[in-house]
Point group: C2
């Protein structure tokens, strides 16, 4: 009495993916939860278990960093110490670039060590004078830099986020410092970390999408390239035309989302129109939890002094394992009898 | 510079599924966590978030039910009140049955209301005298029966499980009472509920598998059938040969796992051999958390008095959403560019 299946695997998989995305949005709000005080460890764990983000408005307003990190203070602490800065012609570090032949490449910034005082002044002056196109600088190494390169600032932030440490039973993997202006954009991507993000100066404008957007972001494996300077003088202030990107050697193939929810008709997939991106702006002193594997694209606006500054904590939930994702969507996964026909 | 994909969707999906199962077992133990005291709400939430089971050995040993539910007590409370009993020829309620023509059907038990005193005596006597094959009875309605049919026993168990109520912020959806003997087996299946299971008398022998086993269990959509009695006397004690199963009308097609990890070569899929079932026996007073969507097959052994008795709580984690499952396995899901080629 076994019922036989039709042979059209492809159409079955197609409709399973559509259902997955549609059901997700039916079950989940398309706005981010806004809290007005930090969650308890248990409440945080409930968000982690549901893989859902939240914002704590003014959750970090009492942090020393939020109180103190004006340019005068930052200059007094960091002075002319050398910091790693990402330099790009268009604010496009770690971004997809369309080549002249129509193909895509993934471009990484030129990285240079420059004196902090020069960097912050460059960023601020560029923000207030955007008539002439100049290369865009962004301190954004994401390599635990607040506990290393910027360790003299680390005492101004909590060494960890207590509710997250208690819930995840782990110290942060990395604590990062970010300094840039409104000309830099972080392209759509996802991270393997639970992310606690705190805005210190200026605003960040997030467009975020849950992991079910995997079918919508048109991930492609494309060649990695890196900006290099064609200016022989390594001390010279670079011009936009000095920056050329060249293929990485050895060749690097990177899986990259190529769809951008702000340009929904470009490089879309049949599933892109089903996804409902969430948009949220962080103001000074706001804290956001962005769950692991959420896609995010980030723009920014500057504070009074012409720069945007933020801190984030990357945490790992140990022994990661299938969870309620499967509980919700197990039934929409292709079943074994379908698999067998492959 | 975009790299093109090979066209063999099927082989790509096949290897993604293999990786999914293999990675799961690399990341997760193949034995169940054993605790010796109840977890806190936060610790429980960590298990829920990871979709991982645990046993609390002797976690319920102080419950009135575990202290008191001998046959004398149960008879004194329930007497000859009518209870719903599932009757099958082979202890195969809600099971896959192979028809003479080789096809499969899904067979549900004959359900009858019988006096409790008759039922418990029948179950016990059958346990001690298995020479003659007689129909097998199992009180197993799973319809919140401990708060309804057996409500006179409900005061002997906690009205909820505090660590689970606090963590999930919900009262139980159902509290169920189970009474049977070693001749009944619960076939492999999964539930949409978080499950807290407490053994009161006898033992339960669980074979459990995580949701990634979806590709291994050979789920098929098969016709529902139900045992009915061919004996015109509705009061008569039934014989095995009185029970015939017939197609449900209107026709009912049920998706059912048809692979049984205890007979691994029968109706296996190419993925069955990759799955590592966990086996755990609950003794009197033990408590188990079985996460939603875990496959489970359950056998049982009787206590001193020839019956096996258990209680379980079904709970729902509200606002269920994709979680760390995606975090772990996002990268093994077919990506959008693959989907587009469908």
């Amino acid at each position: 009495m076994a019922q036989s299946y039709p042979d059209d695997q492809a159409s079955k998989l197609d409709s399973a993916i559509r259902d997955l995305i549609i059901n997700y949005h039916e079950l989940n709000a398309t706005v981010i939860d806004e809290l007005y005080e930090e969650p308890s460890a248990l409440e945080f764990m409930q968000y982690v278990a549901r893989n859902r983000p939240f914002v704590v408005r003014k959750g970090a307003e009492d942090w020393t960093a939020v109180q103190k990190w004006d340019s005068h203070y930052l200059l007094s602490v960091l002075g002319d110490s050398l910091v790693n800065v990402a330099i790009t012609p268009f604010g496009n570090a770690d971004a997809v670039l369309k080549e002249d032949d129509g193909s895509l490449s993934y471009v990484k910034p030129l990285e240079r060590l420059e004196p902090f005082d020069k960097v912050i002044r460059y960023i601020s002056e560029q923000e207030s004078n955007q008539e002439k196109a100049t290369p865009i600088k962004y301190a954004q190494t994401q390599n635990d830099n607040l506990r290393n390169e910027y360790s003299s600032l680390f005492e101004d932030v909590p060494s960890d986020i207590p509710f997250a440490r208690i819930a995840l039973r782990k110290d942060p993997e990395a604590v990062n410092f970010w300094l840039g202006n409104s000309l830099s954009t972080t392209s759509l991507h996802k991270d393997n970390y639970e992310n606690i993000y705190v805005q210190v100066r200026g605003q960040k404008h997030f467009v975020i999408m849950p992991p079910v957007a995997a079918a919508a972001v048109n991930e492609q494996s494309i060649s990695g390239t890196t900006y290099t300077s064609t200016n022989g003088d390594e001390e010279a202030e670079l011009k936009v035309e000095d920056l050329k990107h060249t293929l990485d050697e050895p060749e690097l193939i990177v899986p990259v989302p190529t769809w951008d929810p702000d340009f929904p008709d470009v490089r879309s997939t049949p599933y892109s129109e089903l996804v409902k991106p969430l948009r949220v702006t962080l103001n000074e002193g706001d804290m956001m939890y962005l769950p692991a594997q959420w896609y995010h694209k980030v723009g920014q606006s500057c504070g009074d002094e012409g720069y945007c500054c933020a801190v984030n904590y990357w945490l790992v939930f140990p022994d990661l394992a299938p969870s309620s994702f499967a509980a919700t969507y197990g039934s929409t996964m292709p079943s074994a009898c379908e698999m067998q026909q492959l």
